[in-house]
Symmetry: C2
């Protein structure tokens, strides 16, 4: 990989300059209450691009900070790395793979080569297949084994095969095709299965199994549970299951027939796969293929912006610099995402996965210790709800940066009741406008309990409305911000070796359980005492409690 | 308040000893992989009480740590403070109020005096009223204005009037009375209202408005929206609304008739109010009064344990010490709550509010600077889902302590399909057992990307099942843990002045909007430029984007 810098980030002069500069920003005269009142603050510290407005005027930066951050970005070749990614280079070096989520929503006829082969024809053919399949399901040409049209879809998948599609489905629920209900069966917890089983009509249910390897334990367990459930209802699973999986996986095996099978590729990681067939099959069935395509076009627009726009005008690039600044120089360990729009309630859990799994790393691309923390704890609930929940801590306790997200034109314009002189939407916006201001400026009070220290940073992101294009743009914005952060640190945002140890230990424990299930005399005495205690407790009913 | 220590915590010898001791625990030889393999670790670092099992063997503590922490607890008179709280003393000193959530689930005939008056008769009478009301709704004696029995309930409330009831309703959904659906209208966002309006049958809908003051802007706006909606459907609001509010509030005004009105009291704060009428009315309607009463009895049992059990055997007290240890001595800024049970999916958002709003403070009871951070960032999603989302960062990035929660006996025993030799529930437990072990012990690897540093602390909490008693116990455990933390720090966990500044600014902005709504010529030019920009943008449609 010649497009990545090979020296440690903490040794470069740009990093050292930023460290020194943080000392200046931490001075009392650079409290946010002074920064925000500078002339032209809003104009100088906000951006518009690809249909999204990004205001970082309430971040703890000044012109000098941004200059140094842009120098860092240049030194780390981050735009070059982004281009390498979109061109199909092997940016996922530890797994020797490309990272081409951008191709999954590209409508360009330019080829993208992976190992010498243009992958775009395959991208288009998957989309075409989704379109045709959706049309046949919606028209009733494809039906269940008793002839009923499908009205329930259960999406079986976990992690990257769940959180992204769930976020997009919730955000675009206002466009859902009325006769199709969507359910997500992610957790192996039997309560998840039980609740869904109780709320569907099996005859009109199609199960979409999403798993790249088709060997993920949780997904396999749920798929088996669902097969058994359908068989017990006298229904033919071959007519009720579709799969999204790698070519040639056990889920793409003609000896195990399904309604349809759609391909995923090793160059699109789970948490980046919403715009591939992973999101495509459930979203097109739930919303219609045209809505899914509009969602892709929005994401593509932001991809092009992220790749082409100069650093100073580039929304996700600037957002990534702010993120690294807050993380490594101002030392905030966490960041909240607070959308002032209930349909975006699953944005924070999705970005939590996207960002924390991508950048929760301690080593560089070369396997060397990074030396500073990468990644941050991401959490969030919708505003104004969050104000009545954890904002006490935000205002007067441990500070953390916040992304506020506003939607200019909501759905449900028919509800016009006025309270205290304003509509519900205006009330919501009064709060969206007030919170960043209160956090930034604070308010002195001689009574300690009523003193607001302020100097709490935030950004505000605006969308025009909850159109599919805007949801695609927002998704792509956070994806590009995440990879730009990684490119600054010089880490690989596409692997996730950190999840392997737990899987391995779980596999050993599962084996012991399987032995015990076969032979009730099997003893757990070779397990370590703590593991042994929990295994005994599980098998003994409640007598250990 | 003579039951509170009056000196700053950082100056006392017990605090200084703990600081010194943290240096020892941070040594390599006290890595968790060594601590967990000590003989008798599990027996010595776990507790059973009030039906809950609490294992802190994977916390970064040894016998010396616990000894010092118990000395701190004693020095801070925390059990005495807890007793003062349950006895009705004015523990909420900044607001000059008692804090008596424990009374709301007490079945004892002992009096509890507030300002010389025994409040228990009022507690019992509210419960009796809930029981009778529930019975009449369920029997169809109380019906909507067109004579239809109620089958939908919309709970209007935000913050403490929402998150607790939502958590308990989700956890106990398996016991729901089939014909009653519950909806939560919390956010003032019109999408929240619009989605609910589209999914109810107005004629069979009862709206429960929960607001102590009955003046909360979001709740008022939603209530007005709902009144208007019902009137437009030709339905009489007086037959479709019930209120839970303070005596004499605008929601308890005979000139504004409602189906029923239930009282809340100033000595029970919103985030502690699940077991009062705030949770009582919706939960009894959704689950039946008997289930609600069992929920109260579980909470009461844990209250008694929290009050009576000696420090070394006291689950919430020990948990609070661990929490302060992790926060102030090991310097973890965040904590995750990961329930391995889908029905507990709303536990983390509730505890996020409970803990962050209670303890996100920087000043002591005396209004002095505390000097160390109180409160912590709480977040979480159910396991095993979280493993496939943000656990990469937990294992290899920025560490944070975790509460793992397991349920021994799940519902839905009828689904018995076996995968890889185990049931779904066993698969879930294999993960529940594996994760704390992997986080604690880690695994060395010469490949930096595959190296697991370990030494990541966690606790494991087990419930026998999802009975109402156990959900009550779990709720009370976290409430008691939260107030015990505050009692150690010497802060007031019952006020929330930190939310006031944002409300005040929002009110000013709302006024400007109201003026603009009345007079389209009204100009926002007297607002600060950033506020002005957002106001202009809201009124200009999308031309600013």
């Amino acid at each position: 990989m010649n497009s990545k810098p090979s020296y440690s980030i903490i040794d470069i002069p740009e990093w050292k300059k930023l460290k020194k500069h943080a000392g200046i920003i931490n001075r009392r005269e650079n409290h946010l209450k002074y920064l925000v009142s500078e002339k032209g603050r809003m104009e100088n510290f906000s951006l518009k691009g690809a249909g999204i407005f990004y205001d970082y005027s309430r971040q703890r930066v000044n012109a000098g900070t941004m200059k140094l951050l842009f120098e860092l970005a240049e030194k780390r070749w981050i735009k070059k790395q982004f281009k390498s990614m979109t061109c199909g280079e092997t940016v996922n070096n530890t797994e020797n793979r490309a990272a081409l989520h951008t191709a999954s929503r590209s409508f360009s006829t330019d080829p993208v080569f992976v190992n010498g082969k243009d992958i775009m024809p395959e991208m288009f053919s998957v989309r075409k297949k989704i379109k045709e399949f959706t049309s046949k399901i919606h028209s009733g040409e494809i039906r269940g084994s008793t002839g009923k049209a499908f009205e329930h879809m259960v999406v079986i998948g976990i992690g990257g095969s769940y959180l992204g599609p769930e976020f997009a489905a919730a955000a675009l629920k206002h466009l859902a095709i009325r006769k199709m209900q969507i359910h997500f069966l992610s957790n192996v917890d039997i309560h998840n299965f039980g609740e869904i089983a109780a709320s569907i009509d099996p005859e009109s249910t199609i199960w979409i199994v999403i798993s790249k390897s088709y060997t993920t334990s949780e997904t396999t367990a749920n798929t088996n549970q669902a097969y058994e459930f359908m068989r017990q209802k006298g229904l033919d699973p071959a007519k009720h299951f579709a799969t999204v999986t790698s070519k040639g996986s056990p889920g793409d095996d003609p000896s195990n027939p399904v309604v349809a099978s759609f391909h995923m590729f090793d160059f699109i990681g789970g948490r980046y796969s919403v715009t591939s067939a992973v999101g495509g099959v459930p979203l097109a069935l739930y919303l219609g293929y045209d809505v899914f395509e509009r969602f892709l076009k929005g994401a593509e627009e932001m991809d092009i912006h992220a790749k082409e726009a100069p650093p100073g005008e580039n929304l996700p690039l600037v957002a990534s610099l702010i993120s690294v600044w807050n993380n490594n120089f101002l030392h905030y360990p966490a960041q909240a995402i607070i959308p002032y729009a209930s349909p975006l309630s699953r944005l924070a859990p999705h970005i939590q996965q996207l960002n924390m799994e991508s950048n929760g790393k301690s080593v560089t691309n070369d396997g060397e210790a990074l030396g500073v923390p990468a990644g941050t704890i991401i959490f969030g609930e919708p505003g104004a709800n969050a104000q009545h929940s954890f904002f006490q801590l935000a205002h007067q306790g441990r500070p953390f940066p916040i992304d506020f997200i506003g939607v200019l034109n909501p759905c449900y314009g028919q509800y016009k009741s006025i309270s205290k002189g304003v509509t519900n939407h205006q009330e919501l916006w009064a709060n969206l406008i007030a919170q960043p201001a209160a956090l930034a400026s604070g308010k002195d009070d001689t009574d300690g309990a009523k003193h607001f220290p302020g100097n709490r940073p935030s950004s505000t992101i605006l969308l025009d409305d909850l159109s599919p294009e805007n949801i695609g743009r927002l998704l792509s914005f956070y994806e590009a911000k995440t990879v730009y952060e990684a490119f600054i640190w010089g880490i690989n945002p596409f692997d996730q070796f950190g999840v392997e140890l737990g899987k391995k230990l779980a596999s050993g424990i599962r084996s012991k359980m399987a032995d015990k299930n076969k032979n009730p005399e099997y003893s757990f005495e070779d397990a370590d005492p703590i593991t042994g205690f929990y295994l005994e407790t599980l098998y003994s009913g409640s007598k250990n409690l």
